[in-house]
């Protein structure tokens, strides 16, 4: 049953993606990307990644939508303008990449089998040692904050740098503009 729910949700995901490609109204693109994030979070729940689904929903459907709408407010553009760009080159590049990726998936193990190489390396150790070593039942939390905590620390640094970049890009120039407006 979970397999069929998974397949149906993935089909809807593909349909929403096609709608995003075709759509020219930028608000609709933003709302459709929010819908895409909700559907993706549901897929992740079906695939047992509960924590990832929570993060994807809060980041993709929450923060990302609000940030995109904020940008639409700052730029004030409502529609994508219709330039007569040739679609031959993008189509060729993406179809070529797609063909190579499909060729690459032939070597992958079948979906959901238990003895795939991914599951034999270190994951059993994490699952077995989590309770005795840390006492936390949620293994994802254990790995994130205990076994790979330096990784998480690096991620925090990345977010800090990005926040700094956004503040430098937007803060300074807008303040100047506002001062100029009050003078004139």
């Amino acid at each position: 049953m979970e397999l069929y729910i998974n397949m149906a949700l993935l089909t809807m995901l593909a349909a929403v993606t096609v709608a995003i490609i075709v759509q020219r109204d930028l608000f609709s693109v933003v709302i459709l990307s929010g819908i895409y994030s909700f559907l993706m979070a549901s897929v992740l729940i079906v695939l047992d990644a509960v924590d990832v689904a929570m993060t994807e929903a809060s980041v993709g459907a929450g923060i990302s939508t609000v940030v995109l709408i904020g940008t639409l407010y700052l730029t004030g553009q409502k529609r994508e303008l219709n330039y007569h760009r040739s679609i031959a080159v993008p189509l060729f590049v993406s179809l070529g990449t797609g063909a190579m990726l499909i060729w690459g998936t032939w070597g992958l193990p079948a979906f959901g089998i238990q003895d795939a190489p991914v599951h034999t390396h270190i994951a059993p150790t994490f699952l077995l040692e989590s309770i005795p070593e840390t006492g936390v039942p949620n293994v994802v939390t254990t790995v994130l904050a205990d076994y790979r905590s330096f990784d998480t620390f690096g991620e925090t640094t990345v977010i800090f740098t990005a926040g700094l970049g956004v503040m430098l890009l937007l803060g300074g120039s807008r303040r100047k503009k506002k001062k100029g407006e009050t003078k004139s």
Binding site: M1, I31, L32, G34, I35, V46, V50, S58, A61, V66
Partner: protein, 93 residues
């Protein structure tokens, strides 16, 4: 029992996605997005019971709150043209 419920919710989800893709105005899409959020919460709860692990319902609460925030952000933009609208300015001017 939960199989029937999950099939019903999946069909409803498919119809709501259709409305989001077809929707002639932006408001149709916002309405469909709101409905998809509700249906995702229901699907989450039903799948939790279907697989026998209904402990994940906290996530459904997160979904519900985010759904409201996303909808209100979009609609506030349309109503006032601004995300941080000050209601007092309306009465002053």
């Amino acid at each position: 029992m939960f199989t029937i419920a999950s099939i019903a919710v999946m069909i409803a989800l498919a119809l709501a996605v259709t409305r989001a893709i077809l929707g002639p105005t932006v408001f149709d899409r916002v309405l469909a997005a709101n409905t998809i959020g509700t249906l995702a919460i229901l699907l989450l709860a039903v799948i939790g019971f279907l697989m026998g692990r209904p402990e994940w319902l906290d996530i459904a609460l997160v979904y519900g709150l985010l759904n409201l925030i996303g909808t209100l952000a979009v609609l506030k933009y349309f109503r006032h043209g601004d995300l941080a609208h000050d209601a007092e300015q309306d009465t002053k001017s």
